[in-house]
Amino acid sequence: MASVAIRNVGKRYGPVTVMRGIGVDIADGEFVVLVGPSGCGKSTLLRMIAGLEEITEGEVSIGETVVNDIAPKDRNIAMVFQNYALYPHMTVEENMAFALTLQRTERAEIEKRVRRAAEILGLAPLLKRYPKQLSGGQRQRVAMGRAIVRDPQVFLFDEPLSNLDAKLRVQMRMEIKELHQRLKTTTVYVTHDQIEAMTMADRIVVMRDGAVEQIGAPLDLYNHPDNLFVAGFIGSPGMNFMAGRIENGRFLTKGGETLPLPDGYGGTRTDVIYGIRPEHLTLDVGGAPALVSVVEPTGPEVQVFARLGVEQIVAVLRDAPSVSPGDKVGFSPQIDRVHIFDAASGRRLVAADLDRAA
């Protein structure tokens, strides 16, 4: 086991810079999730840690060693790929043993390790099968088994669950988490699914366009997003945003509705964005008036889509409220859950910023 340090890492493909100034410190035994929209560079960063891509700028260390110029096989890491990348001409057993065979590990030792991994993952009855004789979930487990037998310092996962159906994905998510709690191996896990990120991570790294937007524990990102991008990316359905201005401690939308602000947001400021999560809105006759357009029950709660002035918003309500499309209702935000962002930079503004600007 080991820590991983990514220092000021950048990536160029010829003249094109796809990544710059990435810095992440991953503690020994930590489970870190890289998350972000497609094309933001998650896989590229992971592959640079693995040694499959050259690091064109900056430094990656594993443990105490800078690994920039160390071959993948000597970095003592194991990687699980999105399409499993099982060798189709080898049985499950041979797939798992392959890396050890190449290292000329003793046969008895190989067998012992393969058996142990197979037991952990429930693969024992499948050892003699070929990958094409396995279901998606079983293939996924074999891919993990292949990583486990090597007993690496770091596990790397690149969207390992994206080819599974929804139900299996939830189950495998749990299994991976359990595996991590059991083995305590440092893990870097890539996904573009923010729910996977929230549920699995010790810490999340949110990326966009080849740069880090924010690093923090899941609830940290949820409660204190640094900027509009992170606020919108984390949470589902996404945070409601309304453009407008602050006047005398209240928020006025472009359409002229008034929304309450937390204490301390005094003064006046134009070009700000008001953010409130759907689950932090409640029905309230005295609240901001809105026109309900669609009502979607999901079981435990109801998603209500509505027009508030010129903005489309969504609220997630518990306790089966009796609203239907066409109703005129009022919404009130939980005031301590309101976020204010600067429209130009996207940065979240705290009360102190407003005083300074005023």
């Binding site: 040694g51 499959l52 993948p72 194991a78 990687m79 999105q82 060798y87 001409h89 190449l102 094409k132």
Partner: protein
């Protein structure tokens, strides 16, 4: 049910026509080989005749046709072994190279394949003569390899191109060096394709006529050249020639029967991925 039947009947008829067109010369050749030349060329065709194995006997026993078979076998097997091994390695490298150089090389190989063989046969002859290699296996093998190489490289490359890149990444992570990635991961995966390539290049080598005509004399003469010589002498030799042509087909037929399982898989592998 009905619609599949509607599709299958015309398909079957088309394939049947195709088979008839293709097999008629073979049948005609076979019939020629088992009767006297007089009967073979009778107009209208004689349907009733006494079949004879006389010409087959003559070919194999009196004329020593087996010597040409051995020559052909030596040349084909050596040439295929060399061109398929070089071809696999080159194709693998070319399928993994992501540079302009790779496609440049591939297309120059294709260009080489576009030359008419006669254009190549003459320089090959000159080279072989200068090196005192006329009528040796070496000259013939090298010439056939040269002729086959573009084909084996292109065919193998198309099979390698279908191996998902993640497998190579996985091999690198598992600790394979370049050779091990090729030998232990890539090659076993394209094995069905390897069989297809082997068969096709074997057929090319086995049937090679022009180069054999130019480069061999009595010592290393191959079957296609020998057959042509029978036919050329006199029309009454045609039955002999036909019997020899059957002799040439038999080993290939046997090989095909043995390889059938691999071949179907290999040809299917190109179309659909498992």
């Amino acid at each position: 049910m009905r619609s599949t039947l509607m599709k299958q009947v015309p398909l079957f008829l088309i394939l049947l026509c195709f088979c008839i067109v293709n097999l008629t010369p073979v049948a005609w050749g076979f019939l020629t080989s088992i009767r006297q030349p007089v009967d073979a060329f009778a107009v209208p065709p004689k349907l009733i005749f006494t079949p004879t194995l006389e010409f087959h006997w003559q070919i194999w026993v009196d004329k020593g046709f087996w010597r040409f078979l051995i020559n052909t076998a030596i040349v084909s097997v050596c040439a295929v072994t060399i061109s398929v091994s070089i071809g696999s390695m080159a194709a693998y490298a070319l399928s993994r190279l992501r540079s302009r150089l790779a496609s440049g090389l591939l297309f120059s190989l294709l260009a080489m394949r576009m030359f008419p063989h006669i254009l190549l046969a003459i320089p090959f002859f000159v080279i072989a003569q200068a090196a005192h290699l006329i009528d040796t296996y070496i000259a013939m093998i090298l010439a056939v390899v040269a002729l086959n190489q573009p084909f084996t490289i292109w065919l193998m490359r198309s099979f390698f191109a279908e191996v998902p890149g993640e497998l190579y990444d996985s091999a690198v992570m598992d600790g394979c060096n370049a050779w091990q990635t090729f030998r232990r991961v890539a090659l076993p995966i394209v094995k069905p394709g390897l069989w297809v390539t082997t068969l096709f290049s074997l057929l090319l080598a086995y049937n090679e006529f022009l180069l054999a005509l130019v480069l061999t004399r009595t010592g290393t003469k191959t079957m296609p050249v020998a057959i042509a010589e029978y036919g050329a002498e006199d029309i009454s030799y045609w039955s002999l020639s036909a019997a020899a042509a059957f002799g040439i087909m038999l080993p290939i037929l046997v090989f095909m029967l043995f390889m059938q399982r691999h071949l179907v898989r290999g040809m299917a592998a190109g179309a659909v991925k498992g």
